[in-house]
């Protein structure tokens, strides 16, 4: 079981950045009728989201978030010992974008920097990596960058995804601190269902050709090419509603966390209908489940830390707050974590033009 207890690691701060470009789900996507758009927005609660302009990448957003965070914490980039960048939308296929971020953030060359190819569970997997680098490898400070520009993976007339997926980047600073509360993280994986949420072609299993780039109406009614993101909505709903809920419930029971103990439940911002179902199933009061899906949409690996950054920068830093996190998505990969958050710094979310 990939469940670990990390002692002596503190989450010092979390920051977010989003593109300035906005998409309005009620007035854009004219390929759907007004009635359809209204129904989808009412269901998903995604009124709109941010969309990166051409040339803007997830690493740009994460860089902006990291600069804002380090400045606010009065921490020099030279004090960073490792960069972990979780994304499914890197700058290049080769090399790891984290290497470029080492340079762009003006960190030392004597650091570790690597990408983790994960989507909506990215923050969970990245957090696990960052904690392991501090506790297992003895590093002092790790910068966890989690971001995606999923709009670049989607065809803009695929109804299954285009109302949900937005762009965002985040930076979370983790530090060695003997006085910190335990961070408990469990990771889970089921690759047998990978093809319910994936980009079928353009990698090395099915290389890019004129045919894989051809946009056509697919069996599910969506318009896209084989190099666009495909989502089997019902299977992903089933996964989230059953496997993920079960994992969170079992994790909370094992950690002896009652629903009423939870000060904040940060869920991956999948869609409003699904997230409400999950939190109600877990019996965590709605008021303790922060949402940003209404205005940022589902931002992949950024969604949990972006929600944290928005929440803490608007309502205030948490004080001894029992917090539960869960991210779930492509892979299929999912994770659950808990800690007690205290004094996590969050600057206002940056808007990048």
């Amino acid at each position: 079981m990939a469940k670990s207890v990390f002692k002596g690691v503190r989450i010092r701060g979390v920051a977010g950045a989003v593109p300035a470009g906005k998409v309005n789900n009620l007035t854009d996507h004219r390929f759907c009728t007004e009635d359809e758009r209204k129904k989808i927005v009412a269901l998903t609660k995604v009124g709109g989201y941010r969309k990166a302009r051409k040339g803007m990448t997830a690493s740009d957003l994460c860089q902006a978030a990291a600069e804002s965070l380090l400045e606010g914490l009065n921490t020099s980039p030279e004090d960073i010992d490792a960069i972990v960048f979780t994304t499914m939308t890197p700058d290049y296929r080769v090399p790891s974008t984290a290497c470029l971020l080492q340079d762009r953030l003006k960190c030392r060359t004597t650091i570790a920097a690597y990408d983790v190819n994960m989507g909506c569970s990215g923050f969970m997997v990245g957090l696990y990596n960052a904690c392991a680098l501090i506790k297992g490898a003895g590093l002092k400070r790790v910068l966890l960058l989690a971001g995606d520009t999923q709009t670049k993976l989607c065809h803009d007339q695929d109804k299954n995804v285009v109302f949900l997926l937005g762009d965002g980047g985040t930076a979370t600073l983790l530090e060695a601190d003997p006085a910190a509360e335990d961070i408990v993280i469990e990771l889970l994986t089921d690759g047998s269902r990978f093809n319910n949420l994936y980009v079928p072609a353009g990698g090395f299993r099915c290389e890019s050709t004129a045919s894989t780039r051809e946009v056509r109406e697919q069996a599910d009614g969506g318009l896209r090419s084989d190099e666009n993101l495909y989502m089997n909505g019902m299977e992903i709903f089933k996964f989230s509603a059953t496997d993920v809920v079960k994992s969170i419930a079992e994790f909370m029971e094992a950690e002896r966390i009652a629903p009423t103990d939870v000060g904040a439940l940060f869920l991956h911002q999948a869609n409003g209908f699904m997230n409400e179902k999950i939190s109600r199933k877990l019996k965590v009061p709605d008021a303790r489940v922060p949402y940003t899906i209404g205005f940022y949409g589902n931002t992949g690996s950024a969604s949990i830390p972006l929600t944290m950054a928005h929440h803490f920068s608007t309502v205030g830093q948490p004080t001894s707050q029992r917090t539960v996190f869960s991210g779930f998505g492509v892979g299929l990969s999912w994770g659950v974590a808990t800690t007690v958050l205290d004094g996590v710094y969050s600057p206002p979310v940056v808007e990048l033009a």
Binding site: I40, L43, G221, F237, K277, I278, K281
Partner: protein, 108 residues
């Protein structure tokens, strides 16, 4: 003895009426003809019944009938109309919904 058949007839009538209301609401939310909906109707046979529309359907039934559908039940309801109807009927029968309450009152 004469009361027993009458009760059965009322029960059957109420059930038929409920089935019909579920079918009409289902068709209305999917924007298809009620005549096109029968127990064998399934997502593969109705173009409008895709995964997004299914969740809109479930949400619409929750709102219209005052029921709450568990996530697992929402998944099961994507099988066919017979399953969809059965789960809605079970919820209404347990008195957790607006029509269920109305039917119960009528029956009393």
């Amino acid at each position: 003895m004469t009361g027993q058949p009458a009760t059965t007839v009322v029960g059957v009538t109420a059930a038929s009426s409920l089935d019909e209301r579920i079918r009409e609401l289902f068709a209305t939310l999917l924007q298809i003809s009620p005549a096109a909906v029968n127990d064998d109707t399934r997502p593969a046979t109705v173009a409008q019944w895709d995964s997004m529309q299914h969740l809109i359907l479930v949400s619409g039934f929750e709102e219209e009938l005052g029921i709450e559908v568990d996530p697992e039940e929402a998944v099961d309801m994507y099988e066919d109309f017979a399953t969809f109807k059965r789960i809605v009927r079970d919820k209404l029968g347990s008195g957790r919904g607006a029509i269920g309450a109305a039917e119960a009152t009528r029956g009393a």
